[in-house]
């Protein structure tokens, strides 16, 4: 039997794929019914563990292991919280699930609740995704009416409720403890860990926090069986199919489902149809803005035979299979697996400034190194771009970045400093050139307006 090429996106192209009638006709809730009526929670957990599914939200933590950390006391109420606060720049994959196949996510919630002992699931969706929220709420209502949610889903006396909780615009709420604070009606400021959410999460109770795509994959894992699902991926310890996103300078930006372990080159050339206007690839940010940049003309340096990337020694960085562990060995991160592709017309100092503006805006302000550091980065980069920079500024950026990293409550600061250091390391010559030449090369200073603003013209 041929292995499936499409799981998560299998129903995307059906007309009205988001309705219960269509989704159910094409297999939705079949697995949830089987799981609740014929399987034990431990069986489900074992399958998910065997499947070696790495969390799809960015950190790549094995989901099965995460579930294993739960140790609820008999009086505890376990919660499932689904992280749909998709806001990492470059990332737009979860939204397609929520809008085109919300029932897959709800089915995943039912199964995961049953497996982890939770009775209530909150799907936290970022506030901007009004349409996703509408689709999800409609789908929850349909599922409730059909008796798949509520007191006796599929006739099993195991109550499951799914609620949609909307955020209100804060990148940091994608960090799991900030998300929990936000869910509790507080400012989205991350909490110190430990205690980890599995011990004390939402409302002080043991909580499983997983990404939308992770939860949506659970029914497929049960359908195929953990072992077979794991083998869909091309890498050991990193199984299955996953959603790859491509944006930026490619012919066909979009979301593509593919096995874990394809290379960045395949993603760009095959899936995304190649570079826009066939210009050369200059750099690619592999998995959301917090992952250090890759340069196609940089080679993998792994001469030692025991290096995890030894098989790719001497090859281009973009020929390494995309997996959580391979990318970590490469000095970057797989992140959300959504690449931002840039061609040779882009100035990397300008790119860095764009990203640092994002981080400055989104820093929650709780920890000084991150709050102040993000502002300093922007100031220094503005100077470099505007011709007021000095060559020493390049070192200064690196020094601040090194002092910001690891000195804050959450990983936001690392997610800001790591890509910054990566950019400075791999494109140092452009930063130095910007300082020496008194700004960006002619024509690349894209933040000059191309037209004058005429006050009150239209209104």
């Amino acid at each position: 039997m041929a292995e499936p090429q499409k799981l998560l996106t299998a129903r995307y192209d059906l007309p009205e794929s988001w309705t219960l009638a269509v989704a159910e006709k094409h297999g939705a809730y079949k697995i949830a019914r089987r799981a609740l009526t014929m399987m034990q929670p431990q069986q489900i957990k074992d399958e998910v563990k065997t499947a070696a599914i790495r969390g799809r939200g960015g950190a790549g933590f094995p989901a099965g292991m995460k579930w294993g950390f739960l140790a609820p006391k008999p009086t505890d109420q376990v919660y499932l919280v689904v992280n749909g606060d998709e806001s990492e720049p470059g990332t737009f994959k979860d939204r397609s699930i929520m809008e085109l196949d919300p029932h897959r996510l709800i089915e995943g919630c039912i199964v995961t609740c049953y497996a982890t002992g939770a009775h209530v699931a909150y799907i936290y969706v970022r506030g901007e995704l009004g349409f996703s929220i509408q689709r999800l709420e409609a789908a929850v209502e349909e599922a409730r009416k059909a008796g798949y949610l509520g007191e006796r889903p599929f006739g099993k006396a195991y109550p499951v409720q799914v609620h949609i909780h909307s955020g209100a615009g804060a990148y940091i709420c994608g960090e799991e403890t900030a998300l929990l604070n936000s869910l509790e009606g507080k400012r989205g400021e991350p909490r110190l860990k430990p205690p980890f959410p599995a011990i004390s999460g939402a409302f002080g109770m043991p909580t499983v926090v997983n990404n939308v795509e992770t939860i949506a994959s659970v029914p497929d894992i049960l359908e195929l069986g953990g072992e077979r699902w794991a083998k869909l991926g091309k890498l050991p310890g990193d199984g299955g199919l996953r959603l790859y996103g491509v944006s930026g300078h490619v012919k066909r930006p979009g979301i593509y489902e593919a096995p874990v372990g394809i290379t960045m080159r395949e993603l760009i050339d095959h899936y995304a149809g190649g570079m826009l206007n066939d210009r050369p690839l200059k750099a690619v940010i592999p998995g959301g803005s917090s992952t250090p940049v890759l340069r196609p003309d940089w080679k993998v340096d792994a001469p030692a035979a025991d290096h995890p990337l030894h098989a790719w020694h001497g090859q281009s960085e973009i020929d390494v299979p995309m997996g959580v562990d391979t990318y970590r060995a490469l000095g970057t991160m797989l992140g959300t697996c959504c690449a931002i592709v840039m061609d040779d017309s882009v100035n990397m100092v300008d790119v860095t400034r764009n990203l640092m503006r994002f981080y400055k805006h989104e820093s929650c302000g709780q920890c000084t190194p991150c709050r102040e550091g993000s502002g300093w980065f922007v100031d220094i980069l503005e100077n470099l771009c505007n011709g007021n920079g000095k060559v020493e500024d390049v070192e200064l950026i690196a020094s601040i970045a090194n002092n910001v990293m690891g000195n804050t409550i959450c990983a936001f600061a690392d997610g800001m400093a790591m890509p910054l250091l990566g950019l400075v390391r791999k494109f140092r010559e452009e930063f130095v050139a910007a300082a020496q030449a008194g700004g960006l090369p002619e024509g690349t200073r894209h933040d000059n307006p191309t037209r004058a603003l005429v006050e009150g013209k239209a209104a």
């Binding site: 995307y12 085109l100 901007e128 009606g185 066909r252 979009g254 764009n354 024509g443 603003l453 209104a459």
Partner: protein, 296 residues
Amino acid sequence: MGTYSGPLGKPESTMAFALTPEREQQVDDIITRYPTRRAALIPVLWVCQKQNSWISPEVIDYVAARLEISAAAVKGVVTFYTMFHEHEVGENVVWVCRTLSCDLRGAKAVQEHLEERFGCHAGGTSKNGKFSLFKAECLAACGQGPMIQVNDRYFENLDLTKLDQILDAYEKNGAEAAEKQFADTAVYNGHVAPPGMEPPPARPSVGAPAAQKPASIAPPKPASIAPPKPASIAPPPKPASVAPPASAPPAAARPAPKATLVGMPAVGASSPPPADTAAAPAAEDTTTDDAKKGEE
């Protein structure tokens, strides 16, 4: 701005804020979903903002009383999240995404066009009160940039013509009619299958996929960089209000413009921007950090 700035931030109005009976019911429903009343805070603020269009001090007092928490706690939350408006806004709120993926595909030209059309900087409101404009950080539509959000709808794969059509609809027919007119564009409509594996188009995809439409692809590259593409790849773009790329001088300094919008220079496009560049160097600088919560 600010019609309420009374002493100590107290409302000047004597009129208490009240929700409509249906919305009161909605709030009751929301509260039952959570083990604590406070957890309903953000959803309830959304309900209030839907009715009132912004979170006034009266709204804060109402929500605090309704959820039995302090007004300071409510205010703390309101100021944290970008989407709660602390000042009055226009009839429609337009967010333009300026983070990297969108910027690579010409989001800056979209912002400029919006500013010119509305006659206000990002962070302001058009004089006729129809639109407020804000610069947004990543709206999770990276593959379909450049894009804007109007109220709670996304409009993606924009070019200036399409942008104007959308805004005209909002301006002339109101938000509800406009949302109906462009209903198909709300859903994720990017690619999901690699070339050659595309299924027959079943999903509604009005205006998509722009990235493939030849017309949206850049002007031909100068010969010095690479052999020029056959002319058929880039038929003359429809007249957009930005100056035509044909006027771009030969690439003296750096590689060719790789505009992705009709006639728009993309980020880092080499050709110096058309004619009136020199004017108003400050237009964006004053708005880059715009009405962000971080500044308040």
